[in-house]
């Protein structure tokens, strides 16, 4: 979504000066992370294209209002079908490409991302607390809550995914620890016994402190990873779904 169309929508809703439009944009579409200069450049482009015009106001600043072309242009955008959001995420790449020896640090990386998500939810909460509590029984309150919920649904699904990844990695780490100990105590049953233990032991907790367990796990991986992490992770996910 461009700042241009967002600013046009706000001008149609209520004509006003640039600084007021900037404040509104921040309140209403905080997730889009527009900066102040976006509003000013959007207004000059909209004016150039004949979609808004400046009009005299009582104060020293200039008010902007939409032209008929502007309203038509906005409605064309409003009712056009929306394209699907791109699904390209650096963390997906990191998980796809990481190795078993990376487990302990990947777990902390994923946990860090969980905290980032929670932080964004907290920021959203605070930005809403600065507004008058929206009344979902009124139109203005309902649309505000619906847009907020859309952003929250994104963070919720991201956090749920991250938690699932972390829990799977933690179980995998515990499995490695068991496998490593088993190797020291008796001969391995089969080349993939470590991962079989790992998937069986999904619900089993590491017998030692977590961090120590992960350290053992990563030491174990340097010796001989029985099969790629991806396969183990898929097994783990499949078993969880079946459970």
């Amino acid at each position: 979504m461009s700042a241009k169309i967002a600013v046009l929508g706000l001008v149609i809703e209520e004509p006003g000066p640039a600084h007021r439009l900037t404040a509104k944009l921040r309140q209403r579409l905080s997730s889009a992370e527009f900066v102040d200069s976006n509003v000013y450049s959007a207004l000059s482009r909209l004016e150039r294209d004949g979609l808004v015009r400046a009009r005299a106001s009582d104060s020293t600043s200039t008010d902007y209002e939409a032209t008929e072309d502007g309203v038509r242009h906005f409605e064309q955008w409003l009712f056009a079908s929306s394209s699907a959001p791109p699904l390209r995420d650096e963390l997906h790449m990191k998980i796809a490409l990481c190795q078993p020896r990376n487990l302990p640090r990947m777990i902390e990386l994923v946990y860090g991302q969980e905290l980032v998500c929670l932080g964004r939810v907290q920021e959203l909460k605070r930005s809403f607390e600065r507004l008058r509590p929206p009344d979902p029984k009124r139109w203005s309150g309902l649309v505000l809550v619906m847009v907020r919920d859309a952003e929250l649904a994104f963070w919720e699904s991201r956090l749920t995914w991250l938690q699932g990844v972390r829990e799977s990695l933690e179980h995998m780490g515990a499995g490695f620890a068991n496998a490593t100990r088993g190797q020291r105590e008796k001969p391995p049953e089969s080349p993939s016994a470590g991962f079989a233990n790992a998937t069986r032991g999904q619900r089993e907790e590491p017998p030692e402190q977590d961090r120590a367990g992960y350290q053992n796990a990563s030491r174990g991986q340097r010796e001989e990873p029985p099969e790629p992490l991806g396969a183990g992770y898929q097994n783990a996910s499949r078993l969880r779904r079946e459970a």
Partner: protein, 253 residues
């Protein structure tokens, strides 16, 4: 300000078949009077266990739970029962076991202590406080999910508790009902100084809380401290005298 409820290094695990499942690991959490703290987590993450441990309805494997400075593990059974009747409201949407009218159900916690007349007066007051006075004569089965949540809150606040423990109050509610229930819980904290610890199944329900956390894999994750506030107006939840009392494992270490 001292926290009303304090969990220190709490751990809990269950045996699931041959395996041990740890649902809480080293959890630290403080709730002060007038605070609403919401804990989000998916189904089975241990949210209800956290609440039960906070009320000593379950015993933790490790750690200490204090209410008003008193270690709950040191209370005798009768003392604990009294605490649950007078100071801790337990709110869940399970409803009464028998087919009671809602006024009877809400009055139940006060009947033994206050007698019939006073208990019913308090129950009417509590139903009115949650906006459900007109449902006094109805039965649980005839209420919508939203109405059940509100009646369950009335059942919790009828004892004028210091602490309200609320288990997933907004599950399956629509937007309007959810906002109503969460707004009510926030107002109980803000206006009546009740400490509220609630678990929520979805993120929109976090929006009315003073502080938020998430629970997964036994870890209670707390968002990092925010960047400095640019506005001259202080956020509503950082009034003087309020304390932020959520601690993650990393922060307490």
């Amino acid at each position: 300000m001292n926290p009303l409820l304090s969990l220190e290094a709490v751990g809990k695990s269950y045996l699931r078949g041959p395996h041990r499942l740890r649902v809480l690991k080293d959890v630290a959490l403080d709730v002060a009077a007038g605070q609403l703290i919401a804990v989000w987590g998916k189904r089975g993450a241990g949210k209800t266990t956290l609440l039960k441990i906070a009320a000593r309805l379950e015993k933790p494997d490790q750690g200490v739970v204090r209410f008003d400075g008193v270690d709950l593990a040191t209370l005798r059974e009768a003392e604990h029962t009294r605490l649950m009747l007078e100071k801790i409201g337990w709110v869940r949407r399970a409803g009464p076991k028998s087919d009671l009218e809602m006024l009877d159900y809400v009055a139940l916690p006060r009947l033994a202590e206050r007698g019939r007349r006073q208990a019913y007066a308090l129950a009417r007051e509590a139903l009115e406080r949650v906006g459900m006075a007109e449902c006094a004569g109805q039965r649980w089965g005839s209420l919508s999910d939203g109405e059940r949540s509100l009646v369950a809150i009335a059942h919790g606040i009828v004892r004028a508790p210091k602490l309200l423990l609320v288990d997933d109050p907004t599950a399956n509610l629509d937007v309007i009902e959810r906002e109503q229930v969460n707004g009510l819980l926030r107002s109980l904290a803000d206006e009546e100084g009740i400490a509220v610890l609630m678990t929520v199944p979805d993120m929109p329900a976090l929006m009315h809380a003073h502080h938020i956390a998430s629970l997964s894999g036994g870890r209670l994750a707390v968002p990092p401290p925010e960047p400095p506030e640019l506005s001259h107006e202080p956020p509503r939840d950082e009034e003087p005298g309020r304390v932020i009392q959520l601690r993650s494992r990393e922060q307490s270490a």
